[in-house]
Amino acid sequence: MPDSGDYAAELQRHPFMAGMAPELIERMAGCVIGSTRWEEDEVIFRSGGAAERCYLVLSGEIALEVYSPGSRPRIVLTISRGEVLGWSWLFEPYRWAFDAKVMTPAEALVLDGEAIRNCIVEHKDLGYEVMSRFARLIVDRLQATRLQLLDFYASNT
């Protein structure tokens, strides 16, 4: 687990922040609430719940699940070390779209979503960096989702 006084260093080591200028990392460190550890099968958030936190995953594996009445939940994606869990805190109405459930014990740095929003409005250079990184993340996941939808391993493709 990271040292509580050294969130900037921990942020700097996280792949999502790779290459960000140290002064911007320092600003982001002001949005860190702390670190957390989840146990297997723990539910981190549920779809429809208030999205108030951004999680930078440090270890473990987390499943994003979608629930449909009358059938078993399906795993949409798993998120592991070095990845970001959750961007719904960035966009209105700030509600989670999926359930997040811990598959293997996990650790994460926890950032306050509202604090990040306020900070990036106030500091445009940080705002550009943060939005660029989330745009890249969203594009990557969109592309991955399109590939999943292609179902290219099916025998008739």
Partner: protein, 268 residues
């Protein structure tokens, strides 16, 4: 080259549509990882099937077959004691020698794990010849994972990094879910000293190559196994023509920079 009859001595059901058959080759059947045979269920027709066994055990000729058409359905139905015609081996193998002393990264999708399994065996049998060994395998669902027990064994080794992911799974599945390309950014290999073997559906290979290039592996150190309709296996009939190349004779393994231009062409 006429087919030689071989006796089926073993059959393993890998998934609901995929089986592995073992043929007795008492005199030994030498082959290199990545090569294929033309298998002939008598009276039905021929199909190009990669050899999926261990090159260090040439007395066991092993093929893994997914049931997709008339010939593969007939091959799928073979039982111990049946006979099947074999022509081969054909094709350009994976460049195992070129990978020696380097990190070896293998990315396989779906049934593509079968044609590359001989390369995996060779690398693990002679582990000291390579630096890092990384296998990334993607399948449609947990039920579609071929060689699941063996992959579990490989994952248990301390000298191999094995990542497995599926495109979709029910809650309760304990493995990774997502496309195989997502495993590449965090895989432990040094792009400067790596050679990559990629095999799977062509769309998967295109996106995998893009991700490997993004990691920094040079174009001339990425190898692909192309799949085309192979009929004669010796470069005469033209069914598998791929630009100026014949997949059966010049491949099926190609260095990426030699086929890059064809991959973006809609009809080659």
């Amino acid at each position: 080259m006429a087919p030689i009859p071989f006796e089926v001595t073993g059959r393993t059901q890998d998934t609901y549509d995929t089986v592995t058959i073992e043929l007795a080759a008492p005199g030994g059947f030498e082959f290199r990882p990545g090569q294929f045979n033309m298998l002939y269920p008598f009276g039905i027709g021929e199909s190009a099937i990669s050899i999926s066994g261990d090159p260090d055990q040439p007395e066991r000729l092993v093929h893994t077959i997914r049931k997709v058409g008339a010939v593969t359905t007939a091959l799928h139905a073979l039982r111990p004691g049946d006979q099947v015609g074999v022509r081969g081996p054909f094709g350009v193998p994976w460049p195992m020698e070129a990978a020696e002393g380097k990190d070896l990264v293998i990315v396989a999708g779906g049934i593509g794990i079968a044609p590359v399994r001989p390369a995996i065996y060779e690398a693990l049998n002679h582990r000291e010849r390579f630096k890092e060994f990384v296998l990334l395998y993607g399948a449609r669902s947990p039920q579609d994972l071929v060689f699941a027990d063996e992959i579990k064994e490989w994952r248990g080794r301390f000298d191999a990094e094995v990542g497995v992911t599926v495109d979709a799974a029910d809650a309760g599945y304990r493995g990774s879910v997502g496309v195989v390309t997502r495993l590449i950014p965090s895989a432990p290999f040094d792009p400067e000293t790596s050679i990559a073997f990629v095999i799977g559906p062509e769309i998967m290979m295109r996106f995998t190559v893009a991700e490997l290039l993004k990691r920094g592996i040079a174009e001339d150190r990425i190898y692909l196994s192309m799949e085309r309709n192979m009929q004669c296996a010796v470069g005469f009939c033209g069914h598998c023509q791929f630009g100026k190349l014949f997949v059966c004779r010049d491949g099926a393994v190609f260095r990426y920079d030699t086929v890059r231009g064809y991959l973006d062409v809609r009809e080659v």
